[in-house]
């Protein structure tokens, strides 16, 4: 196994990114990054002192000798996000970054960021994310970074703080970086029209390719020693940086798995040699912006760079405190009942979602297309972790989650069954899709928060 914790028994290993089969690519030249970070984080959690330069931290680039510590990470899963934040979940889980707080826009606005070292934001609909966070959220984020916090954003999370005059986004002009993949006219699209271009004010943001691309590190700081590496691009930016930012990686080449959405020449012009990853400072804090999804579970070197960046640039002093939510420990019959109730509903929902896999339907939510296949992605992220919750003698859960988790799971099952029934009857489902995905997202947040809290308890 790649990480210390294995898949729950009798669970398809394919959905468990910690599997030992080649497809998940745990190893790189014999180095298992996941084991490396898991080992460091486990030791740190037990109170060990590890410094940059120590043998135990040999995969981290040489730096000033300062002690490492387990960061408290806020992972954004609020409105507008797609399913890609679940890739960060896999990364944090595999590498034993277990002090994770799942955040929605209200939590950000309510000041939860002040208790965090790191804020991670993955993909989705950037405008909806910005709209959801609003001016208050933008202020809180800027303050968090300015006071020494680390912002890690990929795809939409990278677009968000870029320079923009567009409504909602104009509150987030944190860095002097612009989008390179923008044009006055929409380019001719070869395939996947809706994914290839998006209207952006009077301009068009276009996405020349999808899937795997090759990147080249500039070998600076936490990106030193990796050379070229792979990561998947799903609509993330190619960037034009100002002087204040450090280029960490550039788009280097396409691979045979790259899917071209526009003409190859335009794709090359837009991406190759341009900025894929950047490090930028804001006040006392730092932002890492990744065009491609460095957190995707099939790309171990890119994952390694995310972890490395976290250790390198997380808030310098411990934030202490809690997430602000009142939490209780459940054990015995109460714990068993809760986990059983959740398992029941996730199973019910999962059964419907497997049946929907081949359903000939898709939904538009904001500017994003959602297919029924994505429902399973959320449910599997929960399902594969339920075994651990079943085995744990106790779980830690907030009062709010305790109150809302089971009804929320029942609601997901109910909506899914309604969707299935309406599809069978050839009735429209667009009207209920936003509620379905919103409910799924909230349920996944509840379940994964409980999972990570309980891992901390076990550690």
């Amino acid at each position: 196994m790649c990480a210390a914790s294995g898949p729950p028994s009798r669970f398809s290993r394919k959905f468990w990114p910690f599997g030992d089969r080649g497809a998940t690519g745990c190893h790189n030249n014999g180095i298992n990054f996941y084991n490396f970070y898991a080992s460091i984080n486990q030791k740190l959690a037990r109170g060990a002192e590890i410094l940059y330069g120590d043998e135990e931290a040999s995969l981290l680039p040489p730096a000033r000798p300062c002690p490492l510590r387990v960061p408290r990470i806020g992972l954004y899963a609020g409105s507008g996000t797609s399913h890609s934040w679940l890739w960060f979940v896999d990364l944090f889980d595999r590498m034993f970054f277990h002090d994770v707080v799942f955040l929605d826009e209200d939590m950000v606005k309510n000041g939860v960021l002040k208790n965090l070292d790191v804020f991670a934001m993955s993909g989705g609909d950037t405008i909806r994310i910005a709209e959801g966070l609003g001016a208050e959220g933008a202020y809180e984020l800027e303050r968090f970074i300015g006071e020494g916090g680390l912002y890690v954003g990929s795809c939409a999370g990278a677009y968000l703080p870029l320079k923009s005059s567009k409504q909602h986004l104009d509150r987030f002009n944190f860095v002097d970086i612009k989008i390179a993949n923008i044009s006055k006219t929409a380019p001719t699209v070869k395939q996947l029209g809706r994914k290839a271009t998006t209207a952006y004010g009077c301009d068009y943001v276009y996405h020349p390719v999808r899937e795997e691309v090759r990147l080249r590190s500039t070998e600076k700081g936490p990106f030193s020693g990796v050379g070229s590496f792979l990561a998947p691009l799903y609509g993330g930016p190619s960037m034009v940086t100002g002087n204040a930012s450090e280029i960490m990686a550039q788009y280097d080449a396409f691979t045979k798995k790259t899917l071209f959405l526009v003409d190859e020449t335009l794709a090359e012009k837009t991406l190759i040699g341009n900025v894929a990853a950047v490090r930028s400072e804001l006040g006392n804090g730092v932002l890492y912006l990744f065009g491609p999804h460095f957190e995707h579970p099939h790309f171990p070197i890119a994952n390694h760079l995310v972890a490395n960046a976290i250790f390198w640039d997380m808030k310098k002093s411990s934030v202490g405190g809690t997430s602000g939510m009142s939490e209780i420990v459940l054990d015995g019959a109460a714990k068993r009942k809760l986990v059983r109730d959740i398992k029941r509903e996730i199973s019910n929902a999962r059964i419907v979602s497997v049946g929907l896999e081949a359903a000939s339907v898709r939904w538009t939510i904001g500017c994003k297309i959602y297919e029924p296949e994505k429902i399973r992605v959320f449910l599997e992220a929960i399902w594969k972790r339920l075994g651990r919750l079943e085995q744990s003698p106790r779980i830690q859960i907030s009062n709010q989650t305790l109150e809302e988790m089971t009804p929320s799971a029942c609601e997901v099952t109910r909506i899914l069954r309604e969707v299935k029934s309406r599809i069978d009857d050839r009735l429209e489902t667009q009207g209920i899709a936003p509620h379905l995905f919103d409910s799924l997202r909230r349920l996944t947040m509840f379940c994964l928060q409980t999972y990570f809290n309980s891992l901390l308890l076990d550690n």
Binding site: R10, F11, S12, I351, V354, G355, T413, R417, S421
Partner: protein
């Protein structure tokens, strides 16, 4: 049990609503192997509470050829003795993957219920809405309300609800091998259905060896005597009923197999559509899947046309009554009109013949099919048949397929179970279990 097993025995008390789980002890498996060996044992343990026991074999749901079988063991309404009924199609496999190896259902529910088994979770669900429905409507309702078309349902119809000893537990929409009146037992418990769906995983002790041998076996079987034959129509030929083959052929749409069973033992008859139709028909219920060759033959013997026989079997499945028994009544009464037969279903009662088949379903033809097994006694439902059925019900092999594939020897099944589980079961243990379940 870590391998080829979910390691769980589920105990459901319908009266109290209590649901508990026991581990499937290695010790029990070492003595009783599995399938009917263990369902019989569980029946004995709980026999004072009139249990219905469901189970699977260690090979059920694996890649071993023919590994389709689940079992219901209960007291037969017909004989008053414990008997065993096969769960074929995809129901045995689905049961295996629900996360329960065995399910013991006790007591009588206060109001109509169905049992929903999924991913290691058991739920007693209200069935008031489908109590009184025929089997087809009940299956449709369960699948629709639970949101999945692949849920396998063990359902009873009005026959069971009215307490008929001829009531059958049907599988989805179709007849089953329940010739013991287990439908009545369901009805007495206010149990309308057991719905099954599982998306679990079975670990294998020596996966490569196990799968290697499965592939070798498939290679052998592909050269076997039944290859190139298919469906009920060729089973009729193997039974020496060639005219029945000709009788049914004009209605045959397609033949289909139970889970991982190399021979298609089921034949779909199109009754209201052209059997040559390949596209999806508009007609929602164009025909009937025959899973019971003996019953179909029974209606032929009663003098029905193939189309009328198919229609009557469809009506039997909707009403939830054993079609073989209905055919026997038709032979006795001389009734050939399908409408009259259908109308008479609710009034049918009285004894029907039961061959000397031990405790196993005589739904499986009583002799070897296509092959000459190396056995001294292959007379109708004779010693060879009983032993062969016992072995199939112990390991989880399709009982009709077991009678056409001599390649699946007892020795080989033991070897495969040992490879799959890491246990060291031997012929002496198997002989003891066979002796016990046949006694």
């Amino acid at each position: 049990m870590d391998y080829l097993s979910s390691n769980k025995i589920l105990i459901v008390n319908l009266e109290s609503g209590e649901i508990t789980e026991d581990e499937l002890d290695d010790e029990l498996v070492s003595h009783r192997i599995g399938g009917v060996g263990i369902t019989s044992s569980l029946y004995e343990t709980y026999k004072d509470k009139d249990p219905i026991v469901l189970g699977t074999g260690l090979l059920t749901g694996s890649l071993f050829p023919g590994s389709a079988l689940g079992i219901i063991s209960a007291k037969s309404a017909k004989t008053g003795e414990v008997a065993h009924s096969p769960l074929t199609l995809k129901a045995g496999m689905e049961l295996k993957y629900t996360g329960f190896d065995y399910v013991v259902v006790l007591g009588k529910a206060v109001k109509p219920v169905f049992l929903w088994l999924h991913d290691g979770v058991a739920d007693i669900q209200d069935a008031s809405e489908i109590w009184g429905s025929d089997v087809w409507k009940a299956s449709d309702h369960i699948r629709r309300s639970m949101g999945d078309d692949l849920i396998q349902t063990l359902v009873v119809g009005p026959a069971a609800e009215s307490g008929s000893e001829l009531a059958q537990v049907c599988i989805n929409y179709w007849g089953s091998g329940d010739c013991w009146g287990f439908g009545k037992s369901f009805g007495e418990k206010n149990l309308k259905a057991i719905a099954l769906r599982g998306m679990g995983l079975l670990e294998i002790s020596e996966p490569e060896d196990f799968v290697d041998q499965c592939f070798e076996l498939f290679e052998k079987i592909k050269k076997g005597s039944f290859m190139g034959k298919t469906g009920i129509q060729d089973i009729f030929s193997a039974m020496g009923e060639n005219d029945a083959t000709e009788w049914i052929l004009p209605l045959v749409h397609r033949n289909s197999a139970c889970y991982n069973t190399p021979y298609a033992t089921n034949t779909f008859l199109y009754l209201s559509e052209d059997p040559k139709t390949l596209t999806e028909p508009d007609e929602p219920e164009p025909g009937f899947l025959v899973t019971d060759p003996c019953a179909l033959l029974g209606f032929k013997r009663a003098g029905l046309s193939a189309k009328d026989a198919g229609s009557v079997m469809k009506a039997c499945a909707k009403y939830g009554i054993n079609p073989l028994a209905v055919a026997e009544f038709c032979v006795k009464s001389g009734e050939k009109d399908p409408e009259n037969i259908e109308k008479s279903l609710k009034d049918l009662e009285g004894p029907v013949s039961v061959p000397d088949c031990g405790r196993f379903s005589y739904w499986a033809p009583g002799k070897p099919l296509f092959s000459n097994f190396d056995a001294s006694d292959t007379s109708e439902y004779g010693a060879w048949w009983k032993r062969r059925q016992a072995v199939a019900y112990i390991f989880g092999i399709h009982p009709i397929f077991a009678n056409m594939a001599p390649e699946l020897s007892e020795e080989l099944m033991l070897e495969m179970v040992n490879k799959g589980t890491g246990l060291e079961l031997n012929q002496d243990i198997l002989d003891k279990v066979i002796e016990d379940v046949c006694s």
